[in-house]
Subunit: 530 residues, 2 copies
């Protein structure tokens, strides 16, 4: 059926089109069915919605995404033909049934996803099945290769180094310190990062506080050639476009299936021609990886997958019992990182980890005492100079300094209600609070921690501050923090079971008679947990 | 934010609304986020799409489904407030992680689904997780009860009998024979059926060829009081509305998760006050249930689930190696069934099974020799009279007879390419072919089988005929039938391995010299497979 286009400026996330109900009936088409859309310029598969009045008979309503993909003009006509489900639907069902997929099947699946040929319902069935049934290493390598094949790639003519953190640890912004150190040492590190799926904010979200993150393959390549380093958004470069399509259904579910996570990471590395890769695997009860044993298993998977993909991989299992550093959220993390680049040794955990990871990369390039060398580059100011150079090359704030970054307009301080030591600082609860405050979309949304695990806390002392860009989101985040209680303090005596009377929990404890100045000391140099 | 409504006549299947991108930004809302929509008349949760031009600032685009649910008028204003994800998203994740859900969690989940509070992405994650991880009997009973709670129920003041087939067997239209027999015997059988999910067509799809299937609870109750029996669509009665919402994402995936299937069946029975239930479980390599052992296990689940729900259940494990009867598709199955009601004893398999199942119900009501009695009622013409009475009560064709039903306009006959016995008649392949021909939406789409398993077939004899309402769908179905080869004939000698020369497979075989009239005899009385 030949239909006249009618532009509907709606972004539905799928290649949807709207048919008049009568036209649809004539073609025996119902909602969610597929049609081939054809002009002399292009031909794609669309998913049908039907309408009685929005489009007249003889018309076809075209959503923004479809309009752009087909490069339509206002007086174009489209030939619409009913078509069947793509083969991938049966392949997804095979994975739902717990079966291994062949190389060919994975190739077909990723081709269909890259072509936007699958509906959100089908994509969701895929990520859910993958989350539950997983994939073996052979399937994962095939998944990675297919994702690279249907996207852009960049070639460099010298060795490419890279860093990756598997995430799950709020505040873990080491990329913005490691990349400048490594680039300043003369190595090529065209780093790309992702946006948050279930975390508080991804490095790509943070970077956008002060510079562009979205580049074409050519632009990224040019910046890397000039500065040795980039800090960009992977998805903007059309490398492994399947990944970004998949993320759009993972995000509302807050899931990140294991094989998809591996392939997502490795496909971006493969597409930027990475030869040497350092991977940070934070371990803790509230990160993605719970135990060191699990971390080592995961590390081995990366190493083996690297072999199938021709990438030399080295992994670091790192401490993740509480948030890294003291900041969670785009603006607050940016400020913390730039202060370190400007010369601060605080928070120590951030400085130590960044230099360790940068050192690992320097050693992969054959340098000795990598960590020491990385720290020297950081302290010399060369890393900060390199950082400013990259920020300018990525179209960001010129001569950037930490005081040029704005915090959220609204804030609420949360105080300790009793004396004790900080016993809990929950990654998961802080992620939820920061997301409720508006992160990653609202740059000002975030939390600054004033206490870290093991520190003494006095009743009435500041525990953390919540920031937000909007009042209702601040309110929502504060309510959530009251419900989740992300921090807990405990005395040496955890509880008492009185036999003679009910214990008055509000009456003064030993704490109240002790030397306050001594307890208040939270000099970061004296606190190994900070 | 207070926004002016703008009606967009689009049926998206979700409670979607469109916000102007700038308004959305101001509220820090992005696509797929949730908002509460409030007028003085109603308050629901909507899922956001954003647009630059379709709606102006200060406007909110409302899709058909949302418009009707909120009972809006053209000059209404809606207060829009950002809101968080419903609790059910975490509950779905728990099932994805393979954990058992509590009574309370299942209640919350089904409440949210019934309220249309979940997006298609979330619903898909639920059915996929259920398909893979399943539920135990306690969870399934809770699921059933919750589905009943959030829907309409019907009370009758005398015992209610019912029939159910779990499906998976094409052509299995026994409902249209069993209900008239049981109702003619004076028992109350307010039967409701479902539409096809992955089958060729459901009983509710077939019924719509000649009468209404969609009734309110009151209407259904009134028809049942008057005629003793109904043959209606369950989903039209707003019993267990969650089920129909779930089916909308199961359908495009072609799945029907086990616990959801159990709950879907039993909730509809519970909501119509069923006391006694006969269940047909077809078993065969290409039905839902592969072996008799599996069928017995399934039957026990029904019996036990019935106990938790106060329904007396009896199951029949039935033969399902090939399609029931000779017809698959709405119109062709209708004709076959009415011919039996008119007096035909052909196809024998349909007559036998219908009388067995009806007899089982008569025996549950305390009558003796149920099958014999059922056959007597059928042969006496009382069942046909009752059928006509119900059809008229449901607003269908008056004095309906088989010759009033129209076949599809387009047809293609498929002939045998060699002599032999019919060795295969694939349920699954015929379902795919009939669906490709347009079933269940196109009533004329279908297949009539001319041969059944074990029958002699001569080269050039008619194997089956494909019908369709549209030419391109007929073409598609015929192509598919060539690819799938749903029927296969074999001689007594299945293959030969010649040592001296290549065998000429086209040269005449023993068949070609035998008495054709003898072989052609496919008198249904002489064929136990028909």
């Amino acid at each position: 059926m030949l239909l006249k286009v009618k532009k509907l400026d709606i972004d539905s996330g799928e290649f949807s089109v709207i048919l008049n109900e009568e036209d649809a009936k004539e073609m025996s088409i119902a909602g969610q069915d597929r049609v081939r859309l054809k002009t002399d310029k292009s031909s794609i598969i669309g998913i049908v919605l039907t309408s009685k009045q929005s489009v007249d008979r003889g018309e076809i309503g075209i959503f923004t995404k479809t309009w752009e993909k087909m490069k339509l003009n206002g007086d174009d006509k489209i030939t619409v033909t009913p078509t069947t489900k793509p083969e991938s639907v049966e392949i997804i069902k095979k994975k739902m049934d717990g079966l291994e997929l062949t190389t060919e099947e994975i190739h077909t699946l990723i081709r269909d996803i890259s072509d936007h040929a699958l509906s959100n319902i089908e994509l969701t069935a895929y990520v859910t099945a993958l989350y539950i049934n997983g994939m073996n290493l052979r399937e994962t390598a095939d998944l990675t290769k297919s994702m690279v094949e249907f996207g852009d790639s960049i070639d460099f003519d010298r060795p490419v180094y890279d860093l990756h953190s598997i995430g799950g640890l709020p505040g873990n912004t080491i990329t913005l310190i490691v990349v400048p150190i490594v680039a300043a040492a003369g190595l090529l590190i065209p780093k790309t990062s992702s946006r948050a799926i279930s975390s508080a904010c991804g490095t790509a979200d943070i970077v956008e506080v002060f510079m562009n993150a979205t580049f074409t393959a050519n632009e990224l390549s040019a910046i890397a050639e000039k500065t040795n380093g980039t800090m960009a958004w992977g998805g903007g470069i059309s490398m492994a476009p399947a990944d970004d399509i998949i993320i759009k259904v993972e995000y509302p579910l807050g899931i990140d299936p294991h094989p998809q996570m591996l392939a997502s990471i490795m496909s971006k590395k493969k597409a930027t021609g990475v030869d040497f890769l350092a991977i940070d695997i934070p371990v803790g009860p509230e990160t993605k990886i719970k135990t060191v044993e699990e971390g080592v298993k995961f590390a081995n998977e990366f190493v083996e997958l690297g072999k199938l993909l021709d990438i030399k991989v080295e992994c670091a299992i790192s401490y993740g019992d509480q948030p890294m550093g003291r900041a969670i959220g785009p603006a607050v993390e940016t400020i913390e990182v730039i202060k370190i680049l400007e010369g601060s040794d605080y928070p120590r955990s951030m400085v130590e980890k960044s230099c360790e990871m940068a050192g690992m990369i320097l050693e992969m390039a054959g340098m000795r005492e990598g960590t020491k060398r990385a720290y020297e580059i950081l302290k010399s100011g060369k890393a900060f100079k390199k950082f400013q150079e990259i920020v300018e090359a990525q179209g960001g704030i010129k001569d950037i300094t930490s005081d040029k970054i704005k915090l959220g307009k609204y804030k609420q301080e949360i105080y300790a209600s009793k004396n004790g030591y900080l016993k809990k600082a929950s990654n998961r609860a802080f992620v939820k609070i920061v997301r409720a405050a508006g992160s990653p979309r609202d740059h000002g949304a975030g939390v600054i921690l004033n206490k870290k695990l093991g520190q003494a806390v006095l009743k009435g002392e500041l525990l953390y501050t919540i920031y937000a860009d909007s009042e209702h989101k601040l309110k929502h985040a504060v309510e959530l923090s009251r419900k989740l209680k992300p921090m807990r303090t405990e005395g040496i005596i955890l509880d008492r079971v009185p036999s003679y009377s009910m214990l008055d929990r509000d009456k003064p404890s030993a704490w109240d008679y002790m030397d306050k100045d001594l307890l208040k000391s939270d000099d970061p140099e004296n606190n190994k947990n900070d």
